[in-house]
């Protein structure tokens, strides 16, 4: 999980985007690209279609901004990207033969096998993720394995842990927070600053 530097989505950001500033374009593509991947991967059948939808969304957003940048306020940039992505998605559904809408019970692709859909995980990040996962408490790792690797029925997991579904979400939340903290620490190891004793 590469931590993107936080950018303020302000008028200056949009101006830089319209002017093809490389750093801003890269941030925009990575930030919203990852969000669109999350959104689209459970709705489209293949990584190729996800990528097609993302590229079409980027094209439309940037075209619109360049033609009429004042029509999008900085505060609504995210909502605008999401709305355009929705439009692209619905058009792809309507195209019919190439894509098919999946029902709500559809689960994400099985990432245990290497495939193009797998993920936000870039190759160079896999090792870091592996190391961070190894630092989680055993209980967290067991629950995560049951949930995401073995795809066990959640009611069975709850029965095993003697918890309800709401508390299972809490357990996942805590595991995720520990994961985030550990990942942040790993990113920070070269940036340690000290307040010396007064």
């Amino acid at each position: 999980m590469s931590r993107l530097a936080r950018y303020a989505f302000d008028r200056a950001y949009i101006e830089r985007l319209v002017e093809n500033d490389p750093e801003t374009e890269q941030h925009f593509a990575q930030y919203f690209g990852e969000l669109m991947t999350l959104k689209l991967r459970s709705r489209l059948r293949s990584a190729a279609l996800v990528e097609e939808a993302k590229q079409e969304t980027f094209t439309r957003v940037l075209t619109r901004l360049k033609q009429k940048k004042d029509s999008v306020t900085p505060e609504s940039l995210g909502a605008f990207v999401n709305a355009v992505c929705n439009n692209v998605l619905f058009e792809m559904y309507r195209a019919g033969s190439r894509t098919a809408q999946l029902d709500e019970a559809f689960d994400a692709p099985d990432g245990r096998q290497p495939c193009g859909e797998a993920t936000l995980l870039a190759d160079e990040e896999r090792e870091r993720v592996r190391e961070v996962l190894a630092t989680l408490p055993e209980k967290d790792r067991t629950i995560l394995t049951w949930l995401f690797f073995e795809d066990r029925d959640k009611d069975r997991i709850c029965e095993e842990l003697n918890v309800d579904r709401a508390y299972l979400r809490v357990l996942l939340h805590r595991a995720k927070e520990r994961f985030k903290d550990a990942f942040a620490m790993k990113a920070a190891r070269q940036t340690l600053w000290i307040i010396a004793a007064l």
Partner: protein, 222 residues
């Protein structure tokens, strides 16, 4: 869906677990495309899920299901050597970072031996509850400070105060690299048990301008 609603209903977890209706998913997506905090949260959850799905979680105790569906935990395979654990490089890295930090401030370290830190993550007050920090062995408490704004070039200014306003410590620091948290070691003797603290961090050039505010409480000693 607003931010408070997303946080209190554990929307990121429900999204990743596939427990939302299509309408809820749309509402949450509308929100996290506009909310950097929730975007980061759902990204982290997705990376966690994907990492586990990809088998990166590794050394988990073997588990099998009985015919009745109960799960048994089997004995772990022979454990590796201590120097093969994932903790060691972390500890080494942390110790090295501490040493480098001390060198950069030209302050003698408290010991001639390397030591590790187990930091408490502080996030801006808008992003969740203030953590309760327990004093432990050692002289310092380590904080990993997740700045919400990109650190400005140059230096940062911090103020650590009691919640009531009385100052505890303040000073200037070099900004961390973009995308990385600020790490801060605070001497435990500065922090009293059972007291709420506020840490503000902003640009040194304009201390009164946009700052991040972090809160934490030191646990009561038992």
């Amino acid at each position: 869906m607003d931010h408070r609603g997303a946080v209190t209903t554990l929307a990121s977890e429900r999204y990743i677990l596939g427990e939302m209706t299509e309408r809820e998913r749309h509402l949450f997506e509308e929100h996290f495309f506009d909310c950097p905090d929730c975007a980061e949260d759902v990204r982290a959850a997705a990376v966690l899920r994907d990492g586990v799905r990809a088998g990166l979680i590794g050394d988990v105790p073997a588990m099998v299901a009985t015919p009745k569906g109960k799960v048994l935990q089997l004995e772990r395979a022979a454990s590796g050597k201590w120097w093969q654990t994932a903790a060691l490089p972390w500890a080494a890295a942390a110790a090295l970072a501490v040493a480098v930090g001390y060198q950069s401030f030209n302050v003698a370290p408290p010991t001639s031996q390397p030591f590790t830190v187990a930091p408490v993550t502080l996030r801006p007050t808008s992003r969740g509850q203030a953590p309760v920090v327990r004093k432990g062995p050692g002289d310092m408490i380590a904080f990993a400070i997740d700045l919400s704004q990109p650190p400005p070039q140059g230096r940062l200014h911090y103020d650590l105060t009691r919640d009531a306003g009385s100052p505890v410590a303040s000073g200037d620091l070099a900004a961390p690299m973009p995308g990385t948290p600020l790490l801060l070691l605070v001497p435990q003797k500065l922090l009293a048990s059972g007291v709420d603290y506020v840490l503000t961090v902003g640009a040194a050039s304009a201390p009164a301008s946009a700052v991040d505010i972090f809160r934490f409480t030191i646990d009561k000693e038992r």
